[in-house]
């Protein structure tokens, strides 16, 4: 503790408000209706969306399509082998990803159907849930699911008593506060808010504003990824 920020620089050389390098691609899995791949810091995550598909199972709704989300970390995604069985943490993250995306989607056109979102973490770093949400939103847009806006998520936190944006794994573990937030910017809505640690009200307000600034940058990347797939001329192979 106490050496995560030196002279306004973080352990990986970033400033307090800088994001880690972010690479986003749409349409990476041909079999899926929509898909995406994100590299955010050391995170490497594939997202595939299947559906909407006709279903008569228990749990479907006459009102709208029902989303099923599976967040899964590969056994080789961490330093030590992770058991491939779904852990408590993975079940929780599946649930929060689903909730964060659901409020952006317009699903009442697809009654009695299921929409599957598979999130597969190949390599994990801090903020994998927010990277997953960012990528899943692009995959859903690629699948042609109507949505109010793209959802972008980022974690802010407190490290050495200072507010910083986009926590790395080390900062997440050794810092004081971790606060992942997902935004629907057009609607001015927050669709995910979790907090681990303690903050004052003023710090919290500032953290939300910092996250919003970062979300705007992430949204540009999302648009770029979709634009690259749909609007750039492809060379004939």
């Amino acid at each position: 503790m106490g050496n995560l920020i030196v002279d306004g620089k973080r352990t990986d050389g970033r400033g307090l408000l800088d994001l880690r390098p972010l690479k986003l691609e749409a349409g990476t899995i041909k079999n899926a209706a929509g898909s995406s791949y994100i590299e955010h810091g050391k995170n490497k995550i594939y997202v595939a969306v299947y559906g909407p598909k006709d279903s008569h199972r228990y749990g479907t709704s006459m009102e709208k399509a029902v989303i099923r989300c599976r967040y899964h970390m590969s056994p080789f995604s961490t330093d030590e082998r992770k058991s491939p069985a779904p852990s408590r943490r993975e079940i929780e993250i599946s649930k929060v990803i689903r909730d964060a995306l659901e409020s952006s989607l317009i699903l009442d056109e697809f009654p009695k159907t299921l929409l599957d979102i598979y999130v597969e973490v190949l390599q994990s770093d801090g903020g994998s849930r927010s990277a997953s949400i960012t990528a899943a939103s692009v995959a859903l847009a690629d699948a042609g699911i109507p949505m109010k806006d793209l959802v972008e998520a980022v974690a802010v936190g407190k490290v050495d008593g200072t507010l910083v944006v986009d926590l790395s794994d080390k900062e997440d573990k050794e810092g004081e506060v971790d606060l992942p937030i997902a935004f629907l910017l057009n609607e001015n809505m927050i669709t995910l808010l979790q907090m681990d640690g303690k903050m004052t009200v003023e710090e919290f307000k500032e953290a939300v504003n910092m996250a919003k600034e970062a979300a705007m940058k992430i949204k540009e990347k999302q648009k770029e990824a979709l634009g690259k797939k749909y609007f750039e001329k492809v060379d004939e192979k």
């Binding site: 929509g34 009695k112 159907t113 042609g144 057009n186 949204k219 999302q222 492809v234 004939e236």
Partner: protein, 215 residues
Amino acid sequence: MSKSVVPGDLVAKGNYRIYSNVIKNDDKFYSIFVGSAEVAGGKVRVTRLSGPYIPKIGDQVIGMITDVQPLAATVDINSYINGFIMANAFYKKRIDPSKRDLSEKVRIGDLLSARVNRIERGRDVSLTLEQKWRVDGDAIFYISPAKAAYLLKSKSNIINKIKAYTGAGIVMGINGLIVAKGEKDSIDKITAVIKAIESQVELYGLEDVLKGVLS
């Protein structure tokens, strides 16, 4: 003049009464799909580039029979929902189920050309048969429903040009199914055309690409 948009992009601002594939927030219209936006004549419209086929009344579709029961057949129409056809559509009169069975007319795997007749929320889509409903073919192709709709509605009659170029008999549904019938040579040609359609992601360059292939 069309503009490329992704979900959440501002398409237009102001007082428009007629709009499709956008969401209205005060006086702003945001796209809900990846597509091309057009604002003209008091209308705001986004043509989507991806997504499943969404049935609309009057659409001509190509379906594959997936289940045959005495009085109705279930049809896969390449959508998030199935279609069905009542047996009397095949016989053009009421039939007595104790004497007749639909399995004498169609089998699982048969292809047919049909029109969307009725849509009820949460139920299978009701279809009626076209005049020449039985579709035979040597090859089936799937293209994205957005492209199928664009090709069928295009004013330059692309489908006829493809037919003339390949020499194959082609039946196409707005749901993205293309059934081709012809010699091996024709089928090879149409495979190349379909490949060209699939490689062009953007809708508004599709005609030029096809012209290049067809010439």
